[in-house]
């Protein structure tokens, strides 16, 4: 624990800033009902009010408090993104490592399947799948996870390939270990650092993807507060010089930048690269 704190204190300012942003977002998401001055769906005043002492960030197109919705939005968007990313990693890592360990036909089938999925632009494919299966949150998570897992698969397979040729994997094979054990105990611990770094980046992409889907109307459905749909709902205001739609956009951008700061630092320290 002391070592961890020491590492943190030695991290560059950008990484510390990034971590602070992430911690604040997590805190906000977890304690949203306590922090928000009003309810997520409560219509509290007139439409499109400007910032005031009562409504710090003004109200939206239906007269709901912007600040409260931003706070609840953290909860929805961040947690859906987190869940989808975790799921994408589980799918991608299992398939990627299986391809690396088995090689041959398994590798060919998985890789060509992934190539086929990746050949279609992710947003279009996502919209298509959501139109077919509906826009409930479990479906949303599943669709995003499957689509994003293709990227994870490629990384996991490449990293796994490098580890599979190591003598300790051969030693495990000669010992009579099964593929699952080799994936779990020989490959995964040694592939962790690139995968964790990728997790940070992938999380950003998933997060932006959800926002984009919501903006297009196929992501998180109203009245649930979500930053992407909040941008869309208030988009017309921008024409009148009202900055309200920029607030959720700024929340999205800030988290993306923060996560990237941390990932950069992490990559830098595990790879030992000089600037």
């Amino acid at each position: 624990m002391r070592g961890f704190i020491k590492t943190l204190s030695q991290a560059p300012l950008t990484a510390q800033l990034g971590m602070a942003i992430i911690v604040i977002y997590m805190f906000t998401a977890i304690f949203a009902p306590l922090l928000a001055p009003y309810g997520e769906r409560a219509i509290v005043a007139g439409q499109y009010l400007g910032p005031s002492w009562e409504y710090w960030l003004g109200t939206d197109n239906l007269g709901r408090d912007m600040l409260s919705r931003i706070i609840f939005g953290a909860r929805n968007t961040v947690f859906i993104a987190l869940l989808a990313t975790i799921l994408a990693f589980i799918i991608g890592i299992v398939m990627g490592f299986a391809a690396a360990v088995s090689g041959g036909i398994v590798d060919q089938v998985f890789s060509r399947l992934v190539d086929a999925v990746m050949a279609i632009p992710i947003l279009i494919f996502g919209l298509l799948l959501l139109t077919v299966f509906g826009t409930s949150i479990p479906v949303l998570i599943a669709v995003i996870a499957v689509l994003e897992s293709t990227r994870v698969y490629r990384l996991a397979r490449a990293v796994g390939m490098n580890i599979v040729v190591m003598d300790y994997v051969e030693a495990a094979r000669l010992r009579g270990e099964g593929n699952w054990w080799i994936m779990r105990h020989e490959i995964l611990p040694n592939a962790l650092s690139p995968l964790i770094a990728e997790f940070g980046l992938r999380f950003c992409f998933v997060f932006l993807f959800i926002s984009a889907l919501s903006f297009l109307g196929l992501g998180i459905q109203p009245p649930t507060a979500d930053w992407g749909s909040m941008v869309r709902e208030n988009a017309s205001l921008i024409a009148f010089g009202d900055p309200t739609p920029l607030i959720p956009a700024f929340a999205i951008a800030l988290l993306t930048v923060g996560v990237n700061f941390v990932v950069d630092w992490f990559l830098y320290s595990v790879s030992g690269l000089r600037e």
């Binding site: 094979r173 000669l174 010992r175 009579g176 270990e177 105990h185 962790l192």
Partner: protein, 559 residues
Amino acid sequence: MSNQKRAANAENTELLRIQALRIEAQLHGEWAEIVKGVDLVLRRRELVGLIGESGAGKSTIGLAAMGHVRNGCRISGGSVLFDGIELRDMDSGTKRSLLGVRIAYVAQSAAAAFNPAHTIGSQVIEAAVCHGVMSPDGARERAVALFRQLQLPAPETFGKRYPHQVSGGQLQRAMLAMAMVCGPDMIVFDEPTTALDVTTQFEVLHAMKQAIQAEEMAGLYITHDLAVVAQLTDRIMVLRHGDTVEEGDTRQIVEAPRAEYTQQLLNVRKALKPEHRSAEGAPVLQLKGITASYGRSGPQVLRDVSLSVPPGTTAAIVGESGSGKSTLARVATGLLPPSAGGIELDGEQLSYRLRHRTREQLRRLQMIYQMPDVSINPAQRIEVIIGRPLTLYFGMTGQKRRARVEELLEQVDLPADYADRRPTELSGGQKQRIGIARALAADPDVIICDEVTSALDQVVAQEILSLLLRLQDETNTSYVFITHDLATVRAIADTVAVMYQGEVVEGGAAEDILGNPTTDYAKLLLSSVPQMKIGWLEEVTQARARSARGETQTVPGNA
């Protein structure tokens, strides 16, 4: 030109003087001294050997002699005077005018030093032309002369080839030509023959010695192999942990070493085995007429190879790289199914394929690898690494497993509390001991040892070999010992099989093969192993020349 310059200088003048050199390296943000005040004087036309195990600081000193330090290192004290010029605080312009022209460097791996996209010739003359020492035509002529001097095939056209078109030994000689093309005053040789096979090493050493003498150059020769350095150098400096252990004439160091550490280096790989065991009882592992190739239509890498390992003995498989010795191990372990032949373990026929063998069969045939860094998983604790075979084969868990792991650690001379460490906290020799303990955990009948000492320093390798022999006495395990190093074979083998191009050319009891080889290849191989004896290189060259002329054949020095 350079010869005139040299003639103008009196004999025995100092060329390089290193005084109280201290070099620090940055480790986890702290500076640690890795060279601790070393003094060295190199006179003109003199070749000085720097010898020591890895981490002794010999390469660091070699680079410092050229005014260079690796990234993350700094010279913290002392001076490096080259022909009166202080190299320590030399600006990069002066450095450029010296390096390549008056000081040259020969690296360990020629394959990594040459750019594969350019011809050898253009790279050899590049420095001379860039520095304006010679015209391109003049440099080309000089290169051809050097190729001839270094006994490279077709010297006129050799420069037109690309690095991948020549053999490793030829490329190493080409790098020597690259270093010599400007006629430098001094060359730093950093383990130039370590990566080569013994027969190739012999050729390179021979060509190198003649070329250095003809060109009258001075040099620093860095190596871990005392027998090699004894053939080439005038003086030897023995280094350890960044400090000078002993310095003296080559003859004095080889014949009357003063320091205990030097004696230890001289004694490595002396026969460890008091007596060779005779082959009693039915063979525990038997390979019969193995023929194998990579891929269905690939060339055959093994042709009708047979090997039989009696219980409790060590069977050595000797051969150069590409002879198929490691492939034989892959066949025996089931990683590479052969196209013909039989594999028997204790009379029981083994399947060609790993996944068709029973767990019991897998348990009885274990393996130890060459590179301890990659053969044990760096992400696992030692307890898991050694304990996994115990769980898998004997169903041991918890306290019982822990006790057995500690027992095994003690058997390989490591403290029991190492069970809680990770491989990254151990040295190379200690990691190899873990590899041995992991193989022992399965309580096997046969252990295949694939070049287990070649990645280790000589003194450490010696300890590992003694450990293996002691364990053989204790457990009566058979070893199949794959190696290219005949000194190792001599130290521990009971039977020897010499492999060449996928076939066993000679096999039998160790003393017969090593003492009195009958086939030409075995003779060549045995006579190429450097002997700790001054003048050995010349003796063997002369003997070979004589036998080539058809006179009586004597291969000296295989005592």
